[in-house]
Symmetry: C2
DNA sequence: TCTATGCAGATGTCAGGCATTTACACTACC
DNA sequence: GGTAGTGTAAATGCCTGACATCTGCATAGA
């Protein structure tokens, strides 16, 4: 070595052992809090960053919430503030978090791809988002029609039923959730993890675009479109499945003419 | 203020003025090197990070290349190493860069979404990537058939011609480029920036998956598929355009049966 | 020729400091 | 009573300087 000091790593009074996690429950991180002396340890920053990302993704740090301060996090994790800062900065640049000077750091998105998309093209016409969503869902629908497992099909129909029931109940929040769940079932039935991720990102961007969504009574055309989609997938008809996905979005557009970003839009 | 010191920002001997850029040509950064006292300045780290990202995206820092060291970057930009580190860390976490301890920092991807995808699901069956690509391209093809501008159509046919010529020439590299250019033209013709970004990401993932690509003579079916796609888009036939995009991928799959990731695959 | 060694340089981590901004409670004034 | 101004605590932003540790490479040795 080109330089030698009398004290251990981290200068005089090095921290004995990083311990404790950040979330509410102590000692149950992603894969343990922070391991410093593993046989082949990954950089500390990476571990810390991973931990934060897990907290965001798992919902322990919900979107919009203010997370603990840098000093506090550093203390809890037993690492220096610089390390925490680098980790947070990474997630900020990714778009997952957002640091506000003099205030604190807030959670901005759950999905990293969403973060990137939102950061670079915030307005992004709602029509573009809808078209992209339709395209990905159509692709998934085709794949699902070709190769969906029986289990996936069962889930699909269950979700469709739940969606119909939720619509009848009048509970808008429940209806919105059921609707999302149905569409996710379609995407998952494709069996393609890549498309699942891309869809999730686009869907989250859409959520962001139409935050002030007012759920209106859906048109019969829209309701039919949902059923047609499930039917086509179950029948294994690729072309029909793809077309149904597009018809679905078309029905939504017809019910809510688009005029620009953040226009009053309906649930799909 | 709760504490006051006799010296300026950054302790004794603060840097007089950040200057000079990082790239080969001095003084021509993204929008000037680093502006510290703007009327409403964004955080320095953000500016620096933006600058690095631009260098990656513009190709001044090509994929695979080792970028200058942190100390050097800090010196050139006139900021502290901590700031440079935070900026680099952000891009590392995103997947754009990759830091190797004791060695240096390397460029890993041009597209941030690609970086995220590669980081989380590195293996990702080649078939999944192909299907995702086909799905997005099909969606773009449908949109293009509906609303492509005359200019976009002209570009499309030009690229198809160029692709055919490149194939005849036998120059594999040129052929690969021409092929990519054609597909990009299809996607751009959709007029949807969101889909353009997603396609670029997936395409880059594919490049990574089939790095050792050996370009084989394309089957007649594949060549026809390319032409059919252009025809359908020009004719404004949505359904035909979508089907053509899928047929294109199907023809490639037929010519090169997939057995797993990194299987010898052909150019599409 | 092959192997061991040492050096230079890179990233990783830490500690501590001060600057700047913001939210919020408090006070004084109208 | 309501409003504008003020002050303070706490947060992020930025910097300095040091040391640890790893890696690539040139060099000296077997």
């Amino acid at each position: 070595m080109h330089s030698d000091g009398p004290h251990g790593p981290g200068g005089p009074g090095s921290p004995p052992h990083p311990a404790s996690s950040v979330g509410p429950e102590p000692g149950q991180g992603h894969r343990g809090p922070v391991v410093r002396s593993a046989v082949r340890h990954a950089p500390l920053v990476t571990q810390v960053s991973e931990q934060f990302r897990e907290l965001v993704r798992s919902g322990q740090w919900p979107v919009g919430q203010k997370i603990p301060g840098e000093h506090e996090l550093a203390g809890q994790l037993g690492v220096s503030r610089a390390t925490v800062r680098e980790a947070l900065r990474g997630l900020s640049i990714t778009g997952l978090l957002e640091a506000r000077i003099g205030d604190g750091t807030y959670v901005r998105a759950t999905n990293e791809i969403t973060g990137v998309l939102l950061r670079d093209e915030p307005p992004s016409l709602l029509e573009h988002v809808l078209d992209a969503r339709a395209g990905i869902e159509a692709a998934c629908a085709r794949l699902a029609a070709r190769q969906a497992t029986p289990t996936a099909l069962e889930v699909l129909w269950q979700r469709l039923d739940a969606r119909t029931r939720a619509h009848g109940s009048g509970d808008v929040a429940a209806y919105a959730r059921a609707d999302s769940a149905f569409h996710e079932a379609v995407v998952h039935a494709s069996g393609n993890p890549l498309l699942v991720r891309l869809y999730a990102a686009v869907a989250e961007v859409m959520e962001e675009s139409v935050r002030h969504t007012s759920v209106l009574p859906e048109a019969p055309r829209t309701r039919d479109a949902h059923r047609q989609l499930a039917v086509a997938i179950s029948a294994g008809d690729e072309d029909a499945a793809g077309k149904a996905a597009y018809e679905l979005i078309a029905s939504v557009k017809a019910a809510a003419p688009l005029a620009g970003p953040a226009t009053g839009a309906r649930r799909v």
